[in-house]
């Protein structure tokens, strides 16, 4: 299991779903959401979910990028000033390995940004995108 890639190499995996950088834990987390989704996970849809300005959530956090930085490979910052490790799996290899933690943050952050829970489809798209990064 390779845990890190040079950014260039990582770019090659942009379109791949569940690329080689995802370990067995990440695979099972992604599978969990895919089984509950209507269609196959799409990194492209995940990308636009990440980048869109949603509204409907809390005014301080209109977008995922409000805190996570403009791209998945950037280090983000919470409103309280704490750094957030990059979302891209290639940059933060231990991400998305704990289902409970992933669910907790989807619950909180979807509510903060979208004002509602995210669907299983949205979650699997989002994860597919981040795991491809």
């Amino acid at each position: 299991m390779k845990l890190s890639f040079a950014p260039l190499a990582a770019a090659l995996f942009l379109t791949a779903i569940a690329p080689a950088s995802a370990g067995p834990d990440q695979d099972s987390v992604l599978t969990y959401f895919q089984q509950r989704a209507d269609s196959a996970a799409s990194p492209e849809r995940g990308k636009s979910l990440f980048e869109a300005r949603h509204g409907g959530g809390k005014p301080q956090t209109p977008s995922c990028t409000s805190c996570h930085g403009g791209t998945p490979s950037e280090t983000g910052k919470t409103r309280a000033g704490k750094e957030i490790a990059p979302m891209a799996l290639s940059r933060t290899p231990q991400r998305f390995s704990d289902l409970k933690k992933v669910e907790k943050w989807f619950r909180r952050n979807c509510n903060s940004v979208l004002g509602r829970e995210c669907t299983a489809q949205e979650k699997s798209d989002f994860l597919a995108f981040m795991m491809s990064q």
Binding site: K58, Q60, T78, G81, K82
Partner: protein, 396 residues
Amino acid sequence: MHGTNAADSGIATRPDRKASAKTVVWDIGVRGFHWSLVVVVATAAATGFLAPEWWLDIHVWAGYAVGILIVFRVVWAFYGSFHARLSSFLFSPNDTLRYLRALLRGKPQHFTGHNPAGALMVFALFVLLSALLVSGLMVLGGQENQGMLSGIVAYDAGHGARVFHELLSILLLFLIGAHILGVVAESLLCKENLAGAMLTGRKNRRSASTHPVPGTASPRRALLAIAVIAAAGGTAISALARMPASGLVEMPGNAVYLAECGDCHHAYHPSLLPASSWRRIMTGLPDHFGEDASLGRQTARELATYLAAYAAERWDTEAANNLRRVAARDPLRITAAPYWTARHKDIAKAVFAGKTIGSKGNCIACHADAATGRFDDQMIAVPEKQISQKATWRQQ
């Protein structure tokens, strides 16, 4: 140096061997003490009045040095050479008044050692410096939970002592001014460079000094006395120093708190808010300062209990004592508390927004010991020193 001789003293003196010659009046102990005290008091004053909080250690060490010098001087007042001894500058009230009256007429009597006004100054400075030392140790122990008195002085006592410490420090400046004026006045009136005499030790012996023959010092006895005092004092101080700081509570670490709350922000020490605020925070997590920070019911309950148990009411630290009073309009926000805003008001917004700090709530960016709730002055290091000079020395 001043060309004076026995004739112009005008007062009958006992026929000394060299009545007008310069003699060593101030021994090396007196001189060393005097100029060491100058350096140490100047350091204490400069760091106390001007330096930023994080220079506290230097101020404290200057204070300890004052204490050591005072002990030495007291011993030397019994075992030093003649003019160093207390007995040589104890004057009766009548003698003192007579001297002061003569001084006002511009014709003060010349004394080889301390004159009665100088003796008064010595006593005043001794009392004042001792009081500064004690009150300073009380501030350090009570307010900062540091130093040898941290185990026995409560915050309120330390905070009260601070008022005295500050008043006495201003009084000290006046006394130092009066001391220098007195030296200049007597130097002019008696045509003798007294400041120089404190450097060389040599003064004219041409006067009606009642003690014409200098005694000799007993350095060995002095050393013995100092050793006895050091042993006794050292034992007492180390016993005091071993006492745990009275303001601190033994608090078990809480990994759940650090993980759940520390994910998004600095895991604020429970002592930074009163229990009532913590309770409201823990029941309002779904809208936590504009974000959903909801937790599972079990975890939330566990953390609520922990926070309420170790809330500000439990602690006697500077932070807890002051942050117990929350902002009426924003009672859950530590950085809105009146004390917090007062202490940080001279720090520019840009400093907080800067890359290394990020937000006002990121305590640990500047307070290295924020996780302990101590917030020691010495642990402050603002990454961007854009902080105004005013803010740096305002110690509330």
